[in-house]
């Protein structure tokens, strides 16, 4: 039967959904809504404790290096641009272009992570701010570390997708897979804008 049936259109393979929004996209939106609450709780924790520093706390401004973080923030935002280009490319079926865009996204993501590793080492060994010795260290490292973990997961996801694109199984029809990955990546960037404002910029007002 297979051949006779295969020649027809099989729309139930990617069924037109009740809303017209692909399932995977809706799933990603629901997950990101949930992740908003996740980061919301962590950021609130930081903001609350920021208002009640115990005596002898190192002022955050003396620890932070706003120049470095501004640079890595810029790089992360640019990675979102490359991610958008990758989604655009796969939607047009341009695999080659998608691979270059994804590779650049990974590269930018790694620069951001590298800056964070450098920043963490600098804070711990030069500025003597550790996760245990003060409430600022506790909330700062937990919050930015959790965000860094999100970036790392994104980088791994991007790398697997990049490798997968060489198997020949990734086609225009799978654009939604790249698109949901893109949604995740943009979200991680947007959260960073909030964290950068609430954790870093707030100290300079």
């Amino acid at each position: 039967m297979s051949n006779a049936a295969a020649a027809t259109l099989d729309h139930h393979h990617d069924p037109s959904t009740s809303t017209g929004i692909p399932n995977k996209k809706l799933l990603m939106w629901a997950f990101l809504a949930s992740d908003c609450m996740f980061f919301g709780c962590l950021i609130s924790t930081h903001l609350i404790y920021r208002l009640h520093p115990p005596p002898g706390t190192l002022p955050a401004r003396e620890v932070f290096s706003i120049e470095l973080t501004s640079f890595s923030t810029f790089i992360l935002l640019m990675s979102s641009l490359m991610m958008a280009l990758a989604v655009n490319a796969i939607q047009k079926g341009n695999l080659r272009s998608m691979r270059w865009s994804i590779l650049t996204t990974i590269f930018f993501g790694l620069i951001f992570l590298g800056c964070q590793v450098y920043e963490f080492r600098n804070f711990v060994f030069e500025k003597h701010l550790t996760i245990t010795n003060s409430i600022l260290g506790t909330t700062f490292f937990t919050l930015t570390g959790t965000h860094g973990l999100h970036v790392l997961i994104g980088v791994i996801w991007l790398s697997i997708m990049l490798a997968y694109s060489f198997t020949g199984r990734l086609t225009e029809k799978d654009a939604i897979d790249v698109e949901s990955m893109g949604l995740y990546w943009h979200f991680v960037d947007i959260v960073w804008i909030v964290i950068f404002t609430a954790v870093y910029l707030l100290e300079y007002i």
Binding site: H12, S16, N23, A33, T45
Partner: protein
């Protein structure tokens, strides 16, 4: 609809040969069949069976608590054992009984109600179940170890849960167990949201959804938006315990009250996660047995939505005695009073449904009527708590214990027991005998009231909750003795209920299709429903879709014939492939979670000692999880086709036909 059909339906190309690790299991029976199942009905059964087992476990824990309190100065349990008992009783009943029983119905019933062949992400659905089981195992491991079971209360207030006051690994197990259960619920929640929004049958508009499906949707939104708060709270306490951070360490500027806020931002929506499915079940049963449509359908739906929405703004009424300040206390008191309004509206709608109906007092209806009455009593004592000054008196007393058992047993559990009786004929094609069903109802109803009604008085007389014993001259002896007697009756009732259920499963009276003459689409199926659910995806013309279909059988038969031909032309019914990876990924998570829970405290001086076999075990678990998820993604979701005979039996399936299996 046609405009939405995608344009890229290419003929099926010969897929490249798959590597061996991406083998797709095809066995439907036996252990492999259950481990690899992605059928939403089977996942629902797994949830239900596990939850009923834990109902017995949690019930036995409750029995131990009541036996200890039966007489003054009892020595049946030590104070330490008593702490374990009430902690695990609450944790078990909330996370391992009521929530998974809700999930059992979401899984089994909801896709049938919206006319879908499965949930949106079948493998993720199985994954949610397996993680739930892993979380249940981690929570209960303590009983078999020297550290004992978790003993800090189900809301685990810091700083009691910090390493200073609870040095043993029991709390770590509790933290990791709850973390897994949270992941499980959230994965399930995402899946149900997408399924309800996207997988509805043609004509099933949102305002035609059965109320149970609506409540599933609201519950799922509550789950995915409230669980992140407890996830963060648990991460913070885990960091404190494992790495010596200062989130709840007062000497370094931490504030333990933060735990209470984070916990109850989760904890109060959680209360609605437990009760909204119950309200959905009741809204299905009452119209069926009153022979009337649900009174005020849109109002019932919208009050469900407002309960869900307001549920996020009342958490601090659990904390009126922490000294939040007058403004915050007043605001939360007002919000709490406000949330009683939509709840009351629902009660009136149910009464309106009953009003003037031809009420058939079958077993499910008995539980449903019991629900309305008992839930109202729980609601009345709840509204008393919303007045902050009164609450300050009742806080931490047995009055609170009475209140939440009235809403959780008299509310959630009664509705779930009603739902099991109501849908049992659909699930297994057999019906519980009316005599034994009603007997179990009366035993449960009487036992429940005798147990918990005296607790109102005990609370007002000043008996604090979580006290492991009391002196005779406190004047609490009579009330406690009556309550314990009630517990024995309640236990007998639950025992009867479960034994009758088990008997019915094998020997019960067989029923025909649609035995209750009901209104919603799940009853259009033969019982038990075939694995593909609907031979032909139904077209829905009215709110009570199946009722309409029964009245307009000619029209429906014509439509079905057309759709059947269209389905066959498209290559048969599309079924999802089974998969082993959800189970394997969960095994990794289980190993990793236990590894993290048994890890030793690390401080800076001891960092080198921190790296040891326990860390290696956690990492191994993590690696298994990540590896399984990658293979899961690579195996793809293409599924296979089946073709049916006229009677609904499977004529052929290209899953088992090697030529068409894609190799």
């Amino acid at each position: 609809m046609e405009a939405l059909v995608k344009t890229d339906f290419l003929p099926k190309e010969a897929a490249p040969a798959k590597p061996f690790v991406l083998w797709r299991p095809t066995v439907k029976e036996g252990l492999i069949g259950w481990l690899t199942t992605v059928d939403h009905k089977r996942v629902g059964v797994l949830y239900m069976v596990s939850a009923l087992v834990f109902l017995v476990v949690g019930g036995l824990e409750a029995l131990c608590i009541r036996l200890q309190l039966m007489v003054p100065n009892n020595t049946f349990l030590t104070s330490a054992q008593y702490n374990e008992m009430f902690t695990m009783h609450a944790t078990t009943m909330i996370f391992l009984v009521v929530m998974p029983l809700g999930s059992a119905f979401f899984n089994f019933i909801m896709p049938l109600q919206i006319g879908a062949r499965d949930v949106a992400f079948p493998r993720m659905n199985a994954f949610a179940y397996w993680i739930f089981l892993a979380g249940a195992i981690v929570l209960n491991i303590g009983w078999f170890t020297r550290d004992g079971a978790p003993d800090a209360g189900w809301f685990g207030y810091a700083p009691l849960t910090t390493r200073t006051f609870s040095p043993s690994h029991a709390i770590d197990m509790w933290v990791m167990g709850l973390q897994l259960l949270g992941v499980s619920s959230m994965i399930g929640g995402f899946n149900f949201i997408v399924t309800i929004i996207n997988m509805r049958a043609p004509g099933m508009t949102m305002m035609r959804l059965p109320v149970f499906t609506w409540m599933t949707l609201f519950t799922s939104f509550l789950v995915v938006l409230s669980f992140p708060a407890i996830t963060i709270a648990l991460i913070e306490i885990m960091m404190d315990r494992l790495f010596g951070t200062n989130f709840f360490e007062v000497s370094n500027g931490g504030m333990p009250v933060l735990w209470q806020h984070l916990f109850w931002i989760f904890g109060h929506p959680e209360v609605y996660i437990l009760i909204l499915p119950a309200m959905g079940i009741i809204s299905e049963i009452l119209p069926t047995f009153s022979r009337k449509p649900l009174f005020g359908y849109p109002i019932v739906v919208f009050s469900g939505a407002s309960i869900g929405f307001l549920g996020f703004g009342v958490w601090s009424h659990h904390m009126f005695t922490t000294g939040m300040g007058t403004t915050a206390t007043a605001a939360f008191a007002l919000m709490t009073m406000a949330i009683a309004v939509p709840t009351g509206v629902k009660i009136f709608n149910w009464i309106g449904t009953l009003w003037g109906g031809h009420i058939a007092t079958r077993t499910p209806m008995m539980f449903a009527l019991g629900f309305i009455w008992m839930f109202m009593i729980g609601g009345f004592s709840g509204i008393m708590h919303s007045a902050a000054p009164a609450d300050a008196q009742q806080h931490g007393s047995y009055f609170v214990v009475a209140h939440f058992h009235y809403v959780l047993i008299g509310g959630s559990l009664f509705a779930i027991l009603a739902g099991i009786h109501y849908w049992f004929p659909l699930m297994y094609g057999r019906k519980v005998s009316e005599f034994w069903g009603k007997l179990s109802f009366w035993l449960i109803f009487i036992g429940f009231n005798v147990t918990f009604f005296p607790m109102h008085f005990l609370g007002l007389e000043g008996m604090p909750r979580r006290t492991f014993t009391y002196d005779r001259n406190m004047g609490w002896a009579t009330g406690n003795f009556i309550a314990t007697m009630g517990t024995l009756v309640l236990g007998l009732g639950i025992l009867t209920y479960l034994s009758v259920l088990l008997y019915t499963l094998y020997k019960g009276e067989k029923t025909t299709k649609d035995p209750w003459d009901a209104r919603t689409l799940e009853w259009s199926l033969p019982n038990p429903p075939p694995e593909y659910n609907f031979q032909v995806i139904p077209t829905v013309h009215a709110r009570d879709g199946w009722w309409y279909a029964k009245q307009h059988s000619d029209l429906i038969a014509k439509e079905e014939a057309e759709h059947k031909a269209a389905d066959e032309a498209h290559g048969g019914l599309h079924m999802p492939h089974q998969s082993i990876y959800p189970f394997l990924a969960t095994c990794g998570m289980l190993i990793g979670a236990i590894g993290v829970a048994v890890m030793d405290f690390a401080n800076r001086q001891e960092w080198p000692g921190f790296w040891g076999p326990k860390v290696a075990v956690s990492m191994l678990g993590g690696a298994i999880m990540v590896g399984s998820i990658v293979l899961w993604a690579l195996e793809g979701n293409e599924g296979y086709h089946i073709h049916l005979n006229e009677d609904g039996s499977i004529k052929s399936s290209d899953q088992t036909a090697p030529a068409a299996a894609g190799h």
